[in-house]
């Protein structure tokens, strides 16, 4: 399975110079391994890259280095217990993953969620989305050689993590969702701290544009690189900012609104370029839209219960249930097959990262190896989400 770095198709055993070694135009190929331990892959992703000179001919992603068999594990956990496991898939939008599971269980139980819980869930989801996009923004700029944006992004992300820590009890794997609502009520400081954050963030987001978006080096490295056409985006199943960067309308919050997303005003960001820069723009503009959603909801949190009354032991009726949400990376779906017992018979997670990774080979063929960082950066891969 693990291939050594090797030179294929060398005609002479002992090359006298570089041309003979197969690097010239005589069809010589170079196979190199990137990962599984590589600073550019942000996780244990193993890419086997076939190069012709400096041009990428083929990319073969090898998975399995962080496989934890989460789907199988969920079959032995009860409906309350398995929600926390999904935080460990896409750990940057852990809250939104938990949301999808809770929605699916509530669909099976036909539970009515109190309006307060719905608003809290959406608020937390949008804060998570901002935190996730911020981390991506910093890491993406760092991949392309700019180190300062990483610190700026983490500075603002820290504010969100503090808000999460205060209300949910954890910074990254919150586990704030329970079937029927949320685990605790909002912390008394929550509204004030979120308002402070909005004020801070609105001034910083212009700084981001000055620093990276308008930077000429960044633009030249991302424009026209890794072009994914609209048709290909649909056929590869790309969702989220990757799909919307290619002009596909795929925002689940707009298409199949859940919770209170049909009552708030926000724009679905669509760019038609399909290249790395378009995908970058979608995410940066989504930051502003998430702030817009939070601004509308933060003063209008309805009073009432934060959790619907549920039985101590949950049993889903016999049948199949599917729910989907829009995470920071795209469409996340949960499919539960129930036999009527206390544990699910089968669970399938549709994770956005897996489908987005499948487009990597197609869009990076013909690019230079230096462009691979720009392409992988804008695909926003989270490896535990791909591998599960």
């Amino acid at each position: 399975m693990y291939r050594e770095t090797q030179i294929v198709n060398t005609q002479n055993n002992i090359p006298s110079n570089a041309e003979d070694a197969g690097f010239a135009a005589d069809g010589g190929e170079l196979v190199i391994n990137v990962g599984p331990q590589h600073p550019a892959t942000h996780g244990v992703l193993h890419l086997v890259i076939t190069l012709q000179g400096e041009t990428i001919q083929k990319i073969e992603p090898h998975l399995g280095y962080i496989h934890r068999s989460i789907e199988k594990m969920c079959e032995s956990l009860s409906y309350r217990q398995f929600i926390y496991v999904t935080s460990r898939m896409d750990y940057l939008s852990a809250h939104i993953n938990n949301h999808a599971c809770a929605l699916c269980i509530e669909k099976g139980l036909q539970l009515e969620i109190p309006p307060r819980a719905q608003v809290i869930r959406v608020l937390m989801g949008e804060l998570t989305r901002i935190a996730s996009h911020e981390l991506w923004w910093g890491a993406m700029a760092m991949d392309l050689g700019a180190f300062t944006p990483f610190f700026y992004a983490f500075r603002e992300r820290e504010t969100i993590n503090d808000i999460m820590e205060e209300t949910c009890g954890a910074r990254l794997t919150m586990n704030y969702m329970v079937p029927g609502g949320v685990m605790y009520d909002l912390h008394p400081n929550f509204q004030k701290r979120v308002k402070d954050f909005i004020q801070l963030f609105n001034s910083k987001i212009d700084e981001y544009d000055d620093l990276v978006t308008s930077n000429i080096i960044f633009q030249n490295r991302t424009k026209g690189v890794g072009v994914l056409s609209k048709e290909d985006a649909v056929s590869f199943g790309c969702t989220g900012p990757v799909g919307r960067g290619s002009g596909v309308q795929c925002d689940i919050r707009k298409l199949y609104p859940y919770e209170v997303y049909d009552k708030v005003q926000f724009d679905e960001i669509i760019e038609t370029g399909g290249d790395s820069f378009s995908r970058y723009l979608v995410r940066v503009k989504e930051l502003r839209q998430s702030i817009r959603i939070i601004e509308q909801l933060i003063d209008n949190i309805p009073e009432g219960d934060f959790q619907a009354k549920t039985k101590a032991v949950l049993k889903l009726p016999k049948g199949e249930f599917y729910s989907r949400v829009e995470t920071a990376r795209g469409e996340f779906g949960v499919y539960i097959v129930s036999e009527g017992g206390t544990t699910p018979y089968r669970i399938k997670f549709r994770s956005p990262g897996f489908s987005n990774l499948s487009a990597l080979d197609h869009i990076s063929r013909g690019c230079k190896i230096g462009d691979l960082m720009a392409i992988m950066g804008t695909l926003d891969l989270v490896i535990p989400d791909i591998d599960r």
Partner: protein, 158 residues
């Protein structure tokens, strides 16, 4: 035409770079906005929110009494088999046998701090503590007994 384009490109390049430099450079004159914390020197000032989930602890009052009845609701709620409850039989003054807690075994190394055990507890005997520095030299040190030696059930808790 070519020269005009060339000069315009050079101008925009320099302008965009200076714009970014201005953003970073402005932090030199605004040192108040720097947020670096000097951990671990600031341990005394660090205050974690009361909901922060660090580890499961059992509350004991001054008489060395706790509220755990040994009902194993937390053991059933735990997704990772972190908790193991060993019960014993006490003899009540009336001469009847009564189930009581013997040892509350807690595997900190398996715990994911999901808070499901605390939610499940009917008598609020356990809670989450705000500790976070759990590094030890050996794995066996992470296996904890939560009830203190000689402790017993608080009167009136059923």
């Amino acid at each position: 035409m070519f020269i005009k384009q060339y000069i315009s490109d050079v101008y925009h390049t320099v302008a965009s770079l200076l714009k970014g430099m201005r953003t970073t450079g402005s932090y030199f004159v605004r040192p108040k906005e720097i947020i670096t914390q000097q951990y671990p020197d600031n341990r005394a000032q660090m205050k974690l929110p009361e909901r922060f989930r660090g580890e499961v602890v059992m509350e004991h009052d001054d008489n060395n009494e706790h509220a755990c009845t040994g009902c194993t609701a937390c053991e059933l709620a735990c997704p990772n088999a972190t908790i193991k409850i060993v019960t014993k039989f006490d003899i009540t003054p009336e001469g009847k046998k009564k189930k009581a807690l013997d040892t509350f075994v807690y595997h900190l190394e398996l715990c994911t701090m999901c808070n499901l055990c605390v939610e499940a507890c009917p008598t609020s005997a356990i809670k989450m503590a705000q500790t976070f520095e759990h590094s030890v030299y050996d794995r066996s040190q992470l296996l904890k007994k939560l009830n203190k030696p000689g402790s017993k059930l608080r009167a009136g808790v059923e």
